[in-house]
Subunit: 399 residues, 2 copies
Amino acid sequence: MNNIVLKFGGSSVSTIAKMQNIADLLIQRSESERIVVVISAMGSTTNELMTLAKQASNKPSKREMDLLLATGEQTSIALLTMILKDKGANATSFTGFQAGIKTAGHYTKTKIVEIDDANIHHQLDAGSIVVVAGFQGINDAGDITTLGRGGSDTTAVALAARLQCPVEIYTDVDGIYTIDPSLYPKANKLDEITYEEMKELSFLGAKVMEYHSLDIGERYAVPIYVAKTSSASQGTWIKESAMQAVKPVTGVSISDQVMLVTIKYLPNDNRVVADVFVRLAEEGVNVDMISESYSSKNLIHLSFTVQRDDEEAITNLFQELTSSYPDVQPSYETTMVKVSVVGTGMRTQSGVAATLFKLLAELDVAFRLVTTSEISISFTIPAQDKERVALAMANRFEL
Amino acid sequence: MNNIVLKFGGSSVSTIAKMQNIADLLIQRSESERIVVVISAMGSTTNELMTLAKQASNKPSKREMDLLLATGEQTSIALLTMILKDKGANATSFTGFQAGIKTAGHYTKTKIVEIDDANIHHQLDAGSIVVVAGFQGINDAGDITTLGRGGSDTTAVALAARLQCPVEIYTDVDGIYTIDPSLYPKANKLDEITYEEMKELSFLGAKVMEYHSLDIGERYAVPIYVAKTSSASQGTWIKESAMQAVKPVTGVSISDQVMLVTIKYLPNDNRVVADVFVRLAEEGVNVDMISESYSSKNLIHLSFTVQRDDEEAITNLFQELTSSYPDVQPSYETTMVKVSVVGTGMRTQSGVAATLFKLLAELDVAFRLVTTSEISISFTIPAQDKERVALAMANRFEL
């Protein structure tokens, strides 16, 4: 029998009743496949644990935050495995460290560096359904760590890479759309999309899957199937062999989670600018779009976007900067969204940028930062213009 | 500075506010001592997790039950450590396996076989308050395990044994009494009690500390101090050097958790009787008082007591017995309590048993099973007679 990794998110395991449905599905599939199932914490457990941590400390220790959050998946794997055994199945639960998932890097956003799959193989060989806690692992110091946003997807794809098998990601949405169907109901669901396009969409803010899990999928050529839990409707395959795109634009992604940071009157000195980004990197903050403009010969304005949940790191940065450079005026705003258009066809078909900026001019929408990659263009616009820009783009690019 | 182990139970860490008080106490003591603190799960967390498990399965897998229950202490150590760090202390949390606690035996009631204290020493040397999850460890297979009833006390005493230091157990009661003060308000609090007496009291049902933790304390000569959390009142020392008892009876213990099992018409064959106790041992059930009586030449009646939460194992035993021996009539009752009088003075002062049975006759209380040890006498009586027997004994033995 072939190996398969299945992943179910928090809303798919939010109640015992839902877990029982998943258990039935797993037992049925285990008749013809060797199953590794990765699950998240039940429902809103992770948020509740974060709230508890905030009661304990305004700035909870990140090492202990990881230890705390890891209890969420530990609870859900124990319960799902109890249910599987109750239904007569052979099943074994593994926390991240028991599944051999070794991590490195910043607490609360560590990366998987290695998987020792001996325990998993042993249980699969013994005919067991293996239930693995998503989102967590163990680092060299023996600390329990978590993988950050979308961590359970990363666990699932990394396990599939290690076991050289496909992975199926079950979620709230029934596949990948050309544009968010809640903004544009006529949006098409894609049967296939390339890793590259999906990574670009994810990096630019699409929430279906996180960038890191897609990156692992691409590097190890793991076929990834995204579909809706307990739905007969066909999902989307993410893989290398997607057909050559005929349209220049495959999808549009809109990210609400952007925070636009502006630092005015910074000394015009590359070491100072580098220092800003080094400090942010040390805090594990990913800086996205960046622009620099001259205020005078000796002073510059620096703008960039980060994720909104990096607010604390940004506030700390501002304090450090204003104590080092008293004239600096730092600020951030959270009223912008980032719109991205993505398509491998943009490599060979020109004119997408021109079409786009013409469209924004017609709509009278002011954009701030702009970045481009080989297969994407992104720009920030006021949140209030989100819907009409999305609609206009979907029409113009026939999405 | 000297090492010290402090242990706080679930009701002492049931809220963030209570944890903050404990954190203040720990910080104050860390000025003059190297602190290892062992805590239980918050308040009723363990019961809530058990309820969740019962929803998942009528007979939850014990391996997964341990994994599930272990999240309770993992949560509380993360939060207490966050609070300590928030208050500026140097602190590190360790789960059971991170603290090097190796276990063996039945899931849900494993025993500590070894402690690798390298991580703890490393952190103590670095000036850290070390916060350890009680009640849990890891077995040879790499499974997370729990230590059963009173497991956090066991963790605390075992760590103190390993670190060769005293342990302080903070709990709901302010020390060890000669008899339960809720039954007999004039009961005296003891300044000291020997391990032996305390073990006997615990084995016979006193709830202050579990037998296993006291046994470890005795074998490694760990001074144990039992006192009330956040109370100035003096507690009780449990240690070897208690003064020679002058009274024959040091304390009376009453256990409500007794289940009296009776198996009638069992074949009069030692192999059958042995088989009953082997089956119970395999389920990890501790059999306490035992009596056998003849029904006829070939048949016997067997009675014994177990803990009430072993009901499931008893029900299973009954099913197996009735299928092997159709004539057997098994039953159990939960309307009995076990009363025990304990005192090392009973070794040298005779007449305690006589006094006791005379007293019961005067009170017209029928007792069922009786067992004696070198320093104790126990008997089962109807639960409804509990108070008046306790009062009469406290008077007669001047407790």
